[in-house]
Subunit: 252 residues, 2 copies
DNA sequence: GTCTATAACTAGATAGAC
DNA sequence: GTCTATCTAGTTATAGAC
């Protein structure tokens, strides 16, 4: 498509170059430009759909720079992910431990536990500016990413949080079975990570009554919803199969 | 890589060909092989990560066959999606209308409404055989697909169901605000479509106490969870921001 | 540290022989 | 209906000039 002779263009540039030498600070700036641009694109289109070229175009840097600063596409993803997720998970762990030691006794209020888990994720995206919305999108997309190596990156950071969360819920709901807690927290995960401002789903479906970018509202509704849901699993223990669903099987 | 001369290979084949002529039934078989293989691959790796070539390899057919039977990759996706989703959504609509007319009066039990929405999705994948698990995976992945054209395919089928679902919940919870119902059903969607057997998450995280492929168990726990959660949103209307969330802001 | 140029490969799609 | 061969345009990645 491009008929320019690059060598000629280079020769011209050579003549009038102000000899701007690369510096360390310069490298850091490029690195951050790449991180920000890649986060934006991964958030919007998903990991596999985004090419290295589109990232460099968005960041306004060269194709090779990305390979210089990050060895590969996967390493780049991990760098973005950890930059965002490590503080969130650290806040979760601190919050969960705090919730269990409230007042020095063992009584743990379920709502506080769930709040400790949910809030750091949503709060990281508070403020309604473009950057914070991108953050929510990015992490939601990451949670849904099929790529095996991406899932490994996620699990590595998330597993310790899950252990702590399960233990905290167990104390708050001493009568609940392990199975009930497992399913309940799985649903919790799904509800939390489905909050994705990028697809206009929620706004469209509710005719703008709700806005997925409104993290304050999400938190206000999510915590009571999850608390009641988990308590509902203990109050009405589902021992047998649901009452009205096709009682067709004759044998037990 | 390949040093064979294709023309020579063809000439050999020409000689000993049994002249197997293509038939109509033959075409249908190929079409179905492509649909099944593509569904399997989309379920496992996601839409963008799967190439037409990998589909034809999995199906054991030629690269051109897929373009003959389906015009494009997107059209192929739509064909797979509709084959699975239209019966599910039809069942949902029938169930939701049935739940609202139970006994001829207006009293609608929330659990029945949610059951009518959730069951067709999970029941379509009942049986524990590989094929039914693929189905759940496929639809979960589809729900999380970032690609805009894929999202459009989803929305087209899903919107009428959402309208009916919202109306049914509104009748079952006359005191709930539109905003509360909107958020609550959004969380419902997240919890339901996060049930993905492919990522071993649930089994790993719960040390095999729960199995995401066990759709009977999922249904037993999901409906009570959602029912209690939605009711919880009406019983404790979240007027102001949650009580214990960082009352700091002391400003240094 | 940054960039040009290009290697090495894969993508979706199609024309035309059979 | 099926297949080979091939097109165009895209991909990640790297060597080497500056």
């Amino acid at each position: 498509m491009d008929a320019r002779t690059p060598t000629a263009a280079r020769r011209l540039a050579d003549i009038r170059r102000p000899k701007k030498r690369p510096t360390r600070a310069n490298g850091d700036a490029t690195r951050n430009k790449i991180l920000d641009a890649a986060e934006r694109l991964f958030a919007e289109h998903g990991y596999t759909a985004v090419s290295m070229r589109s990232i460099t175009a968005e960041a306004g840097v060269n194709v090779a720079a990305i390979h210089f600063h990050f060895a590969s596409k996967e390493a780049l993803f991990e760098a973005i992910f950890n930059r965002r997720v490590q503080p969130i998970n650290a806040a979760r762990l601190a919050g969960l431990r705090g919730a269990q030691q409230d007042g020095g006794h063992q009584v743990v209020e379920l709502a506080n536990v769930l709040q400790a888990f949910v809030a750091p994720h949503l709060e990281a995206a508070k403020g309604f500016d473009a950057g914070s919305i991108v953050l929510l999108q990015f992490m939601t997309r990451a949670a849904a990413e099929p790529d095996k190596s991406i899932q490994a990156v996620l699990r590595k950071e998330f597993d310790p949080v899950w252990v702590e969360l399960t233990a905290a819920v167990r104390r708050a709901l001493p009568d609940a079975s392990d199975e009930a807690i497992g399913w309940g927290l799985f649903f919790t995960l799904g509800a939390l990570y489905f909050i994705n401002p990028s697809r206009g789903w929620l706004a469209n479906l509710t005719r703008n009554k709700c806005n997925a970018a409104d993290t304050e509202a999400a938190m206000r509704y999510l915590v009571p919803f999850l608390t009641a849901g988990l308590q509902g699993l203990t109050k009405h223990p589902p021992v047998t199969k649901s009452k009205q669903l096709r009682p067709k099987r004759a044998r037990k």
